[in-house]
């Protein structure tokens, strides 16, 4: 089985679009589910390494390790759920192209082991994200998309600068070969490369200081699309940032800098969510907060914490996709995403969806978020990082404040609109809620996969330090 199928099949489906213009939603669903199935079948053969066209040092290498497998499976699953949710709407060309190109981009980002090839997927995922942000075709959507495009152009510029410096000084593009020779180049150039990569990927990962644009983009996008950004886009860049950091053996002081930035991302985002009164913005800030938390765990370069971070990536992607899809449903019915809408609808099922999602984000048992935060705190305790533990526990209180304030809306309001869900919608949300509950009650199988993935991701990082 070739790993390139994950890239070629969606691209083929996009290019052949004129032949099934009226059935794009069905094609998207079948395609994403087929890719999800394909990812599952690859598990037995891990790790898979594939070279394109010729041998090293010229070849572009694709690698499906335990960690990239976990992410590819997560992305294809998220896309399957997203496509299933959109089955009841009519065929939409822009949504089909944007989402499937986004899938190609994020899968390429985690599979490719060639820095220039990664840049190609960086651009594919960026341009499809701009397209998806502007889908609503109103002033807010265009404003968000243009802002995203400008900041994205800066990220591309810095990424290209790092590629140029790498190629000029090391002479190769393969990540493994770059890692072997990175320490041999001038120290100043090393710093410049790392700084450029940090700015480029920091913007895309949505880290503190480089993430001021995120809430506007999430607010400008359709809620369901924001869910996809949260589940796939930010996660792929988060992986790429730390994969490169481990591979290039960044020093402990540079990792400490990442820890600081991650902690600030986490704290500032959660405080900002507390001030916001718009649900989409609250969820956007919450996403930023969780990204900060994941980055904080990854920045220690420790196996137990990386395992917890990977678990949190999956749990957060599922919970946030579910919340954004539910919000999309409400937005379509009530025409707003202000936090007051929670007092304007009546649907026990949707209330359960929002409650399960919020409780999982908070880390309340028996939901998956609890298992994720527990393993995170255990990992930090193992390293005696009591400051980080205190920060997580304190900021979680702020998280609880705004999420419970949001949920308390259910009890307010008198004239409520009854929102009914189709059987398919009930099935999608039901599966997601069940997954969050199951992963909370029985986290061990997924934690074992995450442990394997953490070891693959860290590679020889410890040994080098």
């Amino acid at each position: 089985m070739s790993l390139l199928l994950f890239i070629l099949l969606p691209l083929l489906a996009i290019f052949l679009m004129p032949f099934y213009r009226a059935y794009l939603h069905y094609v998207s669903t079948v395609l994403s589910m087929a890719l999800f199935g394909l990812a599952l079948t690859c598990k037995a053969a891990l790790p898979l390494v594939e070279r394109v066209a010729v041998d090293l040092p010229l070849a572009i290498t694709f690698e499906l390790s335990s960690v990239s497998w976990l992410l590819v499976t997560l992305f294809t699953l998220s896309m399957s759920l997203f496509s299933l949710y959109h089955l009841r709407f009519s065929s939409n060309k822009a949504l089909f192209v944007g989402t499937n190109m986004l899938l190609v981009g994020v899968i390429g980002l985690v599979l490719s082991r060639d820095i220039f090839n990664i840049y190609i997927f960086f651009e594919i995922s960026s341009i499809s994200a701009y397209l998806l942000t502007s889908l609503n075709q109103d002033a807010k959507a265009y404003g968000g998309a243009i802002r995203y495009m400008i900041i994205g152009a800066f990220a591309s510029l810095f990424f290209l600068l790092s590629i140029m410096l790498i190629y000029l000084t090391i002479g190769v593009l393969d990540l493994q070969m770059i890692a072997q020779r990175f320490n041999l180049i001038d120290e100043q150039v090393q710093y410049l490369i790392l700084l450029s990569l940090f700015i480029a990927l920091g913007i895309k990962t949505e880290l503190f200081g480089l993430n001021f644009w995120v809430p506007d983009v999430y607010q400008a996008s359709r809620s369901a699309v924001s869910g996809l950004f949260s589940a796939m886009l930010s996660k792929s860049y988060l992986f790429l940032l730390f994969h490169l950091a481990y591979l290039l053996h960044v020093s402990t002081s540079q990792m400490a800098f990442l820890t600081l930035v991650a902690a600030l991302t986490f704290a500032v985002a959660e405080f900002s969510a507390l001030k916001s009164r718009e649900t989409k913005r609250i969820f956007a800030f919450s996403t930023l907060g969780q990204i900060g938390l994941i980055a904080l765990a990854l920045s220690y370069g420790d196996t137990a914490l990386t395992e917890a971070a990977l678990f949190l990536i999956i749990v957060h992607a599922l919970a946030k996709l579910m919340l954004f899809l539910a919000l999309d449903l409400l937005e379509r019915r009530l025409g707003s995403t202000k936090s007051e809408i929670f007092a304007r609808f009546e649907s026990l099922f949707l209330m359960a969806v929002f409650t399960v999602g919020a409780l999982s984000l908070l880390g309340i048992p028996p939901f998956a978020g609890f298992a994720a935060k527990l393993s995170l705190l255990k990992g930090l305790a193992g390293l005696e990082a009591y400051g980080a533990m205190a920060l997580i526990l304190t900021v979680s209180l702020i998280e609880a404040a705004y999420l419970f304030r949001l949920l308390s809306g259910f009890r307010q309001g008198e004239q409520k609109m009854v929102v009914t869900l189709s059987p398919l919608e009930r099935l999608i949300f039901g599966v997601m809620m069940f997954a969050l509950l199951l992963l909370g009650l029985m986290p061990q199988p997924l934690l074992a996969l995450c442990q394997e993935a953490a070891q693959a991701m860290l590679g020889g990082y410890h040994a080098a330090l």
Partner: protein
């Protein structure tokens, strides 16, 4: 003149930051120790044996880094799709020049430009040029027609859409065939031929034909969207 009023502190700070960063960058770049060898040397070394293409740049673009090119084609498609989505075509051509001289000139130039575009695409593995350049030349010919014929000329949407779709799909199918026949994408499934001859380079020529078709269709479409932009 009050300097405080004309230049804001933020502007001065940004200018200072940019200047310092530029100086630091220049200092590092001027003292850069370049790598002893680059991939270029390796490519020149194995190019003839693996592709029989006289133009090594083309070998890199279509064969050694064919996957990157497929990505670039996708980026171009995505960008033009975005423009077309947000800039719907109107019926009125905004750049109509009713000029007899232009009409006669374009009548002569149009077929010549098409021919030249096709020549550049087909000779991409022999001389500077290829699918991207040839495709843009062909699109340039259509742009001239838009300027000359005004509202009376429009692209046949179905034809453009089909050529764009099939050429993109053809590029991918070629890659899939490579995976099926060999174990790599863009495996040389066609005879390599003799270096310097028109029929040489194996799959390279086919890739450039697909790229040329796709680029010409997309850039022509882009040109039409700009000259017939709705609500400008």
């Amino acid at each position: 003149m009050n300097l405080k009023r004309t230049l804001r502190v933020e502007t001065l700070l940004v200018a200072l930051l940019v200047s310092v960063t530029t100086l630091v960058l220049m200092q590092i770049l001027l003292n850069l120790h370049l790598a002893g060898h680059s991939l270029g040397d390796e490519i020149l070394h194995i190019n003839a044996a693996s592709t029989q293409s006289a133009n090594a740049v083309t070998s890199v673009v279509t064969y050694f880094r064919g996957l990157d090119t497929l990505g670039e084609v996708s980026i171009l498609f995505l960008s033009i799709f975005g423009v077309a989505l947000h800039m719907p075509r109107g019926s009125k051509n905004l750049f109509s020049y009713h000029n007899t001289l232009l009409y006669i000139g374009v009548s002569i130039l149009f077929p010549l430009m098409l021919l030249f575009g096709v020549y550049v695409i087909l000779h991409g593995h022999l001389s500077p040029g290829g699918g991207f350049q040839g495709g843009v030349i062909i699109a340039g010919a259509f742009l001239l027609r838009f300027l000359t014929y005004g509202d009376h000329y429009e692209l046949k949407e179905r034809v453009v859409s089909l050529s764009e779709s099939l050429s993109g799909a053809g590029f991918i199918v070629l890659g899939l065939l490579g995976l099926l026949v060999g174990d790599r994408i863009f495996t040389q499934i066609l005879p390599l031929g003799t270096l310097g001859e028109l029929l040489s380079g194996g799959v390279i020529e086919l890739i450039y034909i697909f790229v040329g078709l796709k680029v010409s269709a997309e850039i022509s479409l882009l040109a039409e969207h700009f000259v017939k932009a709705h609500n400008v």
